[in-house]
Amino acid sequence: MRRRFNKAFFVCFVLFVSSRYAVVTTQAQTVTQRGFVEGRALLFPREAPNDPTRVVGDLLAREELVVKPAPWVQFATGFDLRANSHDQVEDSWRLDVDDRGVKRPRASLRRLTATVTHGPFTIDAGKQFIRWGKADIINPTDRFAPRDFLTVVDTEVLGVTGVRGVVQHRAETLEVVWVPRFTPSRLPLLDQRWTVISGAAAALPLVDAGSDLPERSQAGLRWGHVGSGFEYSLSFYNGFNNLPNVGLVGQVGQVGQVGQVGQVGQVGQVGQVGQVGQVGQFSVLALTRSYPAIRTYGADAAIPTPWFTIKGEAAYFTSRQSGKAAAADEYLLYVVQIERQTGEWMIVAGYSGDVTTKRRSTLAFAPDRGMARSIVARASYTIDPVRSVAFETAIHQNGRGAFGKIEYSQTSGQHWRATVTGVGIAGHSDDFIGQYHHNSHVRVAVRYSF
């Protein structure tokens, strides 16, 4: 691990030095830089049952550098530095490369990518971001994009390490992806408000009994076509779900000393950590994560019409047992949305659905499915060049959970932006959205971009 870190650090150092050199010796266009420092405060009016903290402060500094020594090759790197008042950041100054930790790393290599282009061919190698899909609400086909779910309603995509090859010829694009090392999504911390355990189990301490990360690689293929007034893609993914199956195991005494006594997790609402049954005999609950092997068959399309643009995206998930990970449900996840820009308004409204074809007795943390069977809408309004407001909502069709967000944002000068966001969450504890009804909050963010 230390060796890997040293290698990455050396490459970054070389890139940095070469970029400084390039600025001095070659055209300005060969080096670009962007970055920001953002301070955030989250204010929760209510305490959560497992988390009395009502004010959380967060700091993120990000720097991205792109060096283009020749028209056919480009190197991109990015670093993050973080601090947090609520123990969401690791207390270690190592440079994290693989984003596999339970907490956010204090210092991390966000990306390190070499891109080579030759005519219609492009190859990206290294830690990078690979995004599939055309919808804005959820992206069932976006399989190479694990996320940070520490705050479930405000997520960020994590990079993956792999190789992506693209060939584009006229209207056709073929993309091949190979990711040898798995990157899981980062789950809510067990002792914080975004982990909700209901029922009698809520009274027991919840401990992290680790993750069983897959060792095998993942691969994907996507073919896209941009036609006259429409575009679509077909995709195939063979790998592992970056969202885990969750094992909740009751234990007596200290974790690791007494061993497992019995499984207490019941299959609950998908997306929740579940309803837990008889727990009286246990003193702690141990949570394990395992990542099921999946295949997805996906499609997405965007069709502009004279009135609005229709966007749709769907993926059919199959699963099989792999290592300690049991086979997960098989299901179709889809989203249909319409989008229209009118005057200063940008409006997106749609429906995300989920059809389970084979239900298996697994408990999973699956926000994508948890948000399904919902009507989702988003609107933004540009007041003037420096001010904007945005609204977003998701309402489960059974009315048991709803989420709403309003955001006001204003820039000042060329560098500063302030954003105030109010998030309201309501619903029942057995609903993926509704379970977070203690977590309505206000977020204030100030960003300095450079």
């Binding site: 670009t32 962007r34 970055g35 920001f36 991205e64 792109v66 283009k68 480009q74 991109a76 891109t115 282009t117 005519g119 219609p120 492009t122 971001f129 995004r131 055309k134 804005d136 995509v157 693209v166 584009q168 694009t173 941009v226 007034g229 575009e231 965007a302 502009p304 019409t305 004279p306 009135w307 609005f308 643009t309 966007k311 989008e339 229209r340 820009q341 009118t342 005057g343 200063e344 940008m346 540009t382 003037d384 060049p385 420096v386 904007s388 820039t411 060329q414 560098h415 932006r417 960003r447 971009s449 450079f450």
Partner: protein
């Protein structure tokens, strides 16, 4: 340039064809026969006027066509500075680089923001079509995604400026009907004043536009866009310079008359016919910096 002189004469004849100026036609040699209206009947007069009107329209089209031809290039690159002044005089600056391959309705363009820092790297790919509205995609590096932009309403402001998306599209001569509306002077330069109306096939937020084209170099001097009979946006072209043989306005200022705000676009490091490749105008290419 000789071509320009010929067009200039055609243009002047066209102007005389306007109804209000028919009384003076006799003074103009080439159309003297129309001045002798007393010798023809009402029907003849009507036909003559109609014929003049058609010729005026033809001539107006020829002027615009010529203006378009004179800016025909295989490619173009510039660095742009967008300054937005609101009604209270507040300024917001944006900078971008623009590369375009092709011209006039059959081109591709990539626009990449460089300032302010928070939008640095945001890129817009525009694929213009001769027969329909352009396709546009935006690459947002902060979320690492490209997305097709819904442009049913091209009246939408471009990034909060006073330019709408439609204002930044290329105006192909065949998308509009033209009528010569007379002579005028803009910034001391003699201009043709031409009324343009979008053809049915070309949906536009504007009911009509008035275009001023300089007689000396066929450069656009001003465009006023109308909603019904009210001017809603005015685009002034200034600092007109000869760049590689093409008369080009290096400063464009759009005023939104209803809001009282204006946006100034200044072109810097402008180059024509630069060697650009087709593969640099794809969704894959806009991901690269």
């Amino acid at each position: 340039m000789s071509n320009g002189c010929e067009k200039g004469q055609v243009g002047r004849v066209g102007q005389v064809g306007q109804m209000g100026q028919v009384g003076r036609v006799g003074q103009v040699g080439r159309v003297g026969q129309v001045g002798q209206v007393g010798r023809v009947g009402l029907l003849g007069l009507a036909l003559a006027l109609l014929s003049l009107d058609v010729r005026a329209a033809d001539n107006a089209r020829q002027i615009v066509d010529e203006a378009q031809k004179r800016t025909d290039v295989t490619s173009q690159r510039y660095e742009g500075l967008l300054q937005v002044f609101d009604a209270r005089g507040k300024v917001s600056d944006k900078r971008w680089t623009m590369e375009r391959l092709g011209a006039h309705g059959q081109s591709k363009a990539v626009l990449r923001f460089t300032v302010p820092a928070e939008v640095k790297g945001v890129a817009l790919l525009v694929v213009n079509h001769p027969d329909r509205a352009s396709d546009q995609w935006m690459w947002t590096p902060a979320i690492e995604r490209d997305r097709r932009i819904a442009l049913q309403d091209r009246a939408t402001r471009f990034f909060g400026t006073d330019f709408s998306f439609e204002d930044l599209e290329e105006r192909d001569v065949n998308h509009y009907e033209y009528v010569l509306a007379g002579d005028d002077t803009i910034d001391g330069a003699a201009c043709w004043k031409i009324q343009s109306t979008p053809r049915e096939s070309k949906s536009s937020q504007y009911t009509s536009s008035t275009i001023w084209i300089r007689k000396d170099n066929y450069a656009f001097a001003r465009i006023e866009n109308y909603l019904k009979d009210q001017v809603v946006r005015r685009l002034n072209y200034s600092n007109i310079q000869n760049v590689q043989g093409i008369w080009t306005a290096k400063q464009l200022e759009m005023t939104d008359i209803r809001r009282g705000s204006r946006t100034r676009l200044t072109l810097d490091k402008l180059e024509y016919n630069v060697p650009l490749k087709d593969e640099d105008f794809t969704l894959q290419a806009i991901r690269r910096r």
